[in-house]
């Protein structure tokens, strides 16, 4: 068999003649295209520049993108993109919003005397709990698993798909403003429970309101606590009075980063959750997905099954979860949810005894640790 020639393989035989350009003109065409493209997309370019990790690359990108945006805006060239985005229903894509809400509670109740907590609401297939799940990319796989687990209770309905946005958090509101986004989405959805996975992208210098602090400094911790607290309170302030489940960051293969960065962030989550007992629950993922050591939990790719086989629970990057890992985290979240809500008594209770939203137990806290006194069927 005759081997095909390259001319035949390119799939360009018999085409009408084209006018070739000299290399210099090709470069000119490319430069004009990039310049025109940059001017027309200036708003998106500026947003991309601001979204770079804090450092010299971001500074350079800002230095280039800002004057391009200014020129484009002055010449009304950015209007084309604005109109086009509006046509697509995505007008807010290029918006840069640095505003981050502050907490509405100021006195920590951590370590306080036992307090009567919000009632443990009951939900039934007739009156389903509205569950919203979202966060950064770490929330994706567990979120999908949670959809299966939670809906299997028969008393939980999911509000939309798992709403994750990769490489986002609270450190960089100009990249993605979670409080602003959640305000829009949750106000419309009015969920009873919110499962939020954040923090894994936040071990960096803060930008936006009160930004500029380098990671880990006391000022950083204070500002990050303010942001987390503000986010929690804005969610709790919804008309549906949802419970919030903050999912902690699990040990990752880079244990140095976990111990230095993520433990600090988890502790802030934990502290802020404890300041809102019975309304915000911190879900600790380390015991669920980590390998036990004498000093705590460490990263592991796989966990042993009862029959001795090993199931891989983490994906190849050493950060995200496999489906099996996602199932484990989802299970831990659901257990916490069952502390806050009664999702099961409808299965055995007489039809008239459990009314939608009825208080079926009292949850109290002692030194910040919630305990449940529930009338189990």
């Amino acid at each position: 068999m005759r081997a095909a020639t390259l001319d035949e393989l390119t799939g360009d035989q018999g085409s009408p003649p084209r006018v070739p350009l000299p290399a210099g003109k090709v470069i000119a065409v490319a430069l004009i295209a990039l310049l025109v493209g940059a001017l027309l997309n200036a708003a998106g370019l500026r947003k991309n520049a601001l979204g770079q990790p804090v450092g010299w690359k971001r500074d350079v990108a800002k230095l280039v993108a800002t004057p391009i945006y200014d020129v484009s805006h002055a010449l009304y060239l950015d209007r084309l993109r604005v109109e086009f985005k509006s046509l697509l229903g995505r007008s807010s894509d290029d918006a840069v919003n640095n505003r981050l809400p502050s907490p509405t509670i100021h006195s920590p109740t951590l370590g306080a005397t036992p307090t009567t907590l919000p009632p443990r609401q009951a939900f039934t297939p007739q009156h389903m709990l509205r569950l919203w799940i979202g966060g950064d990319s770490l929330g994706d796989t567990p979120g999908q698993s949670l959809i299966n687990d939670a809906t299997a209770t028969g008393a939980v309905g999911i509000v939309g798909p798992v709403d994750t946005h990769i490489a986002t958090g609270l450190a960089r509101p100009e990249v993605f403003n979670w409080p602003n986004y959640l305000d829009e989405v949750l106000t419309a959805d009015q969920p009873n429970a919110v499962v939020l996975t954040l923090g894994a992208n936040d071990d960096q210098t803060l930008t936006g309101d009160n930004g500029g602090e380098t990671f880990g400094s006391p000022a950083w911790q204070a500002e990050y606590s303010r942001r987390i607290g503000g986010l929690m309170d804005s969610i709790l302030g919804l008309a549906s009075h949802p419970r919030l489940f903050m999912v902690g960051i699990p040990p990752i293969r880079d244990m140095g980063r976990y111990l230095n960065d993520y433990v600090l962030i988890n502790n802030i989550f934990k502290t802020q959750a404890a300041m809102r007992p019975g309304r915000v629950y911190y879900v600790d993922t380390a015991p669920v997905i980590g390998a036990r050591t004498p000093t705590g939990y460490t990263y592991t790719d796989g966990l042993p099954n009862p029959d001795g086989t090993v199931t891989q629970v983490r994906s190849g990057d050493g950060i995200h979860f496999t489906r099996a890992g996602g199932d484990l985290v989802a299970n831990a979240i659901l257990q916490q949810m069952e502390q806050a809500f009664d999702l099961t008594s409808w299965k055995t209770a007489p039809t008239t005894t459990t009314k939608p939203g009825q208080h079926t137990g009292a949850t109290t806290t002692t030194r910040g640790h919630p305990t449940t006194t529930t009338r189990r069927p």
Binding site: L9, P20, A23, V26, V29, I32, V36, N41, F84, I158
Partner: protein
């Protein structure tokens, strides 16, 4: 470094003029393009550079040994060493965890309980592509259809940045002679190059990313939560997503190489217009199909050794072709579906030929019916390709055929999703002549007009695409 990023645009705008300035100085050009390609490849992870350089060295030594020896058994032994080294590298980086976990589970079933910790091996990007290219080089040298070149030329061939991470799989005989050709800087086929780059960008950034993030990923992650219609449409959407993603990448790769003065073979030729599965494989990932045909199927005996041997060879080729795509049994099943249907087509055609069966007259309706049937077969196989496990694939299939969910709503099947699917399939039915005329007309525009048109194209693509660029599906293969 991903093609549709500002970082790559800056990188390319440095490489393009420098490349043309140095083009007439062969040695300097080769050094420059090698450095640029290694920079491009190392941008993902600098450690991968050593793997690429190691592969280059080993394969060059093997090729020279094969070439310098006259004795057949020595040549064959060196070829075996080369093939084994390439497969060992691929096996370690890509399949180690897969083999260990499967072996562990098998031993457990046999009552021999061992629980080794499976070390996570980082998968070097593009390893499947450059390994196959290196293998074609040493096999061609062994077959005496190609003489080995100098180390620098071979290194440029293996690492050339437009094709290093995701193909097309360009053979040494197609690329290396171009290194010695005189490239005329006054005649760059820029209109075809720009067409391919911008169509590739549109396919990737607009169609593939939109369908992937807004629809396919959501449905496949949890098929039991969606209606039959949503799941069914998600399978078609994935067929379009993977086509737009992969063909978009190779379109860009071919266009970028063309701007640098190099021609690559075509990799996709309207695959969803195929009239048979054999026809599909002449149109889908054409460079891989040719590679599997010439370096696996034909050496196994092809169709020359009788009916059953032919079926066996088809199945082996496609099962291994499936495994090439990833370390998972779902990919093997994907290959098995294709192999089985191709064997069926082969059986049918030989039966027709033997019985002098009357040829049914071709008609427009008949062609459309055949296209429809082949598209369904391809889509069934895609379910296994996309699913993360057999249970996930089973959930997709059972949900499609579950009558209790046929009447449920399909809120995810929006007008945008249907439009993207229609665009991805419709694009393949645009007559080739019309595209050729479009490129020809564009080539007659002045450079300023060309730049303006392309600038507006940037606006459309950038505005329609989601923020950020999802990694290309084929990067992990």
């Amino acid at each position: 470094m991903l093609f549709p990023t500002i970082t790559f645009a800056i990188f390319f705008m440095v490489v393009l003029p420098t490349s043309w300035i140095l083009m007439h100085k062969r040695f300097q050009w080769q050094l420059f393009i090698l450095a640029a390609s290694y920079f491009f490849y190392g941008y993902y992870d600098w450690r991968f550079i050593f793997l690429l350089a190691g592969s280059t060295l080993v394969n060059q030594i093997v090729a020279l040994q094969i070439h310098s020896n006259e004795r057949e058994n020595v040549r064959r032994a060196w070829l075996a060493v080369g093939v084994a080294a390439n497969l060992a590298g691929l096996g370690y980086f890509k399949y180690y965890g897969f083999f260990v976990s499967n072996a562990t589970n098998l031993l457990h079933r046999l009552g021999l309980g061992v629980s080794p910790t499976v070390p996570a091996v980082l998968l070097p990007i593009g390893i499947s592509f450059f390994t196959f290219q290196a293998m074609s080089y040493i096999i061609d040298v062994y077959r005496k259809t190609f003489e080995p070149r100098g180390l620098l030329e071979f290194a440029v061939y293996l690492s050339f940045f437009p094709h290093v991470v995701s193909g097309p799989i360009v053979r040494a005989a197609e690329f290396l002679p171009q290194l010695r050709e005189r490239h005329d800087p006054r005649k760059v086929d820029s209109s075809r190059a720009f067409y391919l780059i911008f169509v590739g960008l549109f396919k990737k950034v607009v169609i593939a990313n939109f369908l992937g993030t807004n629809f396919v990923d959501i449905v496949f992650a949890n098929p039991r939560q969606h209606s039959s219609l949503e799941v069914l449409v998600s399978v078609y959407a994935y067929a379009v997503q993977i086509y737009a993603d992969f063909s978009g990448y190779t379109d860009m790769a071919i266009g970028l190489a063309l701007l640098l003065g190099f021609r690559f073979p075509q990799n996709f030729d309207s695959p969803y217009t195929a009239l048979s599965l054999q026809d599909f494989w002449r149109r889908w990932h054409m460079t891989l199909s040719r590679w599997l045909r010439d370096y696996l199927y034909v050496p196994l005996g092809g169709n020359r050794r009788g009916k059953w041997q032919t079926y066996r060879n088809i199945m082996i080729t496609f099962l291994l072709g499936g495994l090439w795509h990833g370390a998972s049994w779902t990919f093997v099943v994907w290959g098995g579906i294709h192999g089985t249907f191709l064997s069926y087509e082969h059986w049918q055609s030989t039966r027709r030929a033997a019985s002098h069966h009357h040829q049914v007259p071709d008609s427009w309706r008949r062609r459309m019916l055949r296209r429809f049937v082949i598209f369904q077969v391809v889509c069934v196989a895609w379910i296994f390709f996309r699913a993360e496990s057999f249970s996930n694939a089973a959930a997709v299939i059972t949900r499609i055929f579950d009558p209790s969910h046929w009447v449920a709503g399909a809120p995810l099947v929006t007008g945008g999703v249907l439009l993207a699917i229609a665009a991805g399939i419709g694009e393949q039915y645009i007559p080739r002549d019309a595209i050729a005329k479009l490129m020809s007309r564009f080539s007659r525009y002045s450079p300023v007009a060309q730049g303006l048109v392309l600038g507006v194209a940037f606006l459309v693509i950038n505005s329609m695409g989601p923020r950020g660029v999802a990694p290309f599906i084929y990067f992990r293969f």
